[in-house]
């Protein structure tokens, strides 16, 4: 298996009055590319793959986000990755596709609190209000490609490739402290 690196310690990164940022424990991640008939993949994965870019679906412990016209990111418990890979491998003959274990490639930040969207807007040029709770997008955060999962009004996750994570950590920490200082000054 594609083992996650251990250089980054999961846990809280910064906590202020307005926003909390933490690094998630490693999880299983699969990158799926498939075209044509998707129904067999729905069965193999145990969820209905969202057909529209930005939409998400959840199944038994796993969730999928549609990133492009033929591309999905799937998050799953690490223990489930092997089973998902072999379930889809049986489809390969009739439905050629690419399903790659990228668990070791990325790490996830959780951003949470009333200032969460403000913090994300530090690096993301999108109109974040247009990514609705329950949706997600691949976008950019200060030059770094990230996958943004908007879990709620004030909660989001950011998936980022490991090599960019130290940079992103620093940026999120600085941004959080600035937002907290702003909030304190406004009081």
């Amino acid at each position: 298996m594609n083992a996650p690196v251990s250089a980054l310690t999961p846990g809280p990164l910064v906590e202020t009055d307005v926003v909390r940022v933490s690094l998630e424990a490693p999880r299983g991640r699969l990158s799926l590319r498939a075209r044509g008939e998707l129904a067999p993949f729905d069965v193999a994965l145990g969820l209905t793959l969202p057909r529209k870019i930005g939409q998400r679906a959840a199944g038994d412990g796993i969730e999928a986000l549609c990133l492009g016209p033929d591309e999905w990111m799937i998050h799953a418990p690490e223990a489930q990755v092997g089973a998902l890979l072999s379930a889809c491998a049986t489809l390969y003959e009739r439905h050629p596709h690419s399903l790659v274990d990228v668990s070791g490639r990325e790490t996830t930040y959780v951003v949470d609190g009333p200032g969460a969207l403000d913090l994300l807007s530090v690096g993301c040029p999108r109109d974040l209000d247009r990514i609705l709770p329950g949706e997600g997008r691949r976008t950019v955060f200060d030059g770094v490609t990230v996958i943004l999962w908007r879990d709620g009004e004030t909660t989001a996750r950011l998936d980022v490739w490991h090599s960019f994570a130290p940079y992103l950590s620093e940026l999120l920490e600085t941004g959080s402290r600035e937002l907290a200082a702003d909030a304190a000054a406004a009081r």
Binding site: L67, E71, P125, V140
Partner: protein
């Protein structure tokens, strides 16, 4: 910052998510060895330098990842339209300055 409409995502998004990818509708000859040196040179190196509407490729790099085509006015820097890769050139006379 420019706002660009991705025809695959069907959203109008900040330029920072996109990269420019050269002139559009440059077709590779089916039989390169049958080309004259001049034609091959033109295929490889010679590009339009339009003043006004320019057909060009863009890629939604930090997004769906897709290449698509656009018509951008090189004077005003406005996008007249964007469309999926593989579609024919849109008729310029039907395009206005309004982005889809």
């Amino acid at each position: 910052m420019l706002l660009i409409h991705c025809p695959y995502c069907d959203e109008t998004l900040p330029e920072a998510e996109f990269t420019y990818a050269g002139q559009a509708h440059v077709v590779r000859p089916a039989d390169p060895s049958g080309e004259s040196d001049a034609d091959w040179e033109a295929f490889l190196f010679l590009r339009d330098n339009a003043k006004g509407p320019h057909f060009e490729r863009w890629r939604h790099l930090h997004g769906c990842g897709r290449f698509f085509n656009a018509v951008r006015d090189t004077v005003s820097d406005r996008f007249l339209t964007t469309y999926e890769a593989g579609l024919p050139r849109p008729d310029l006379s039907t395009l206005t300055e309004d982005q889809p």
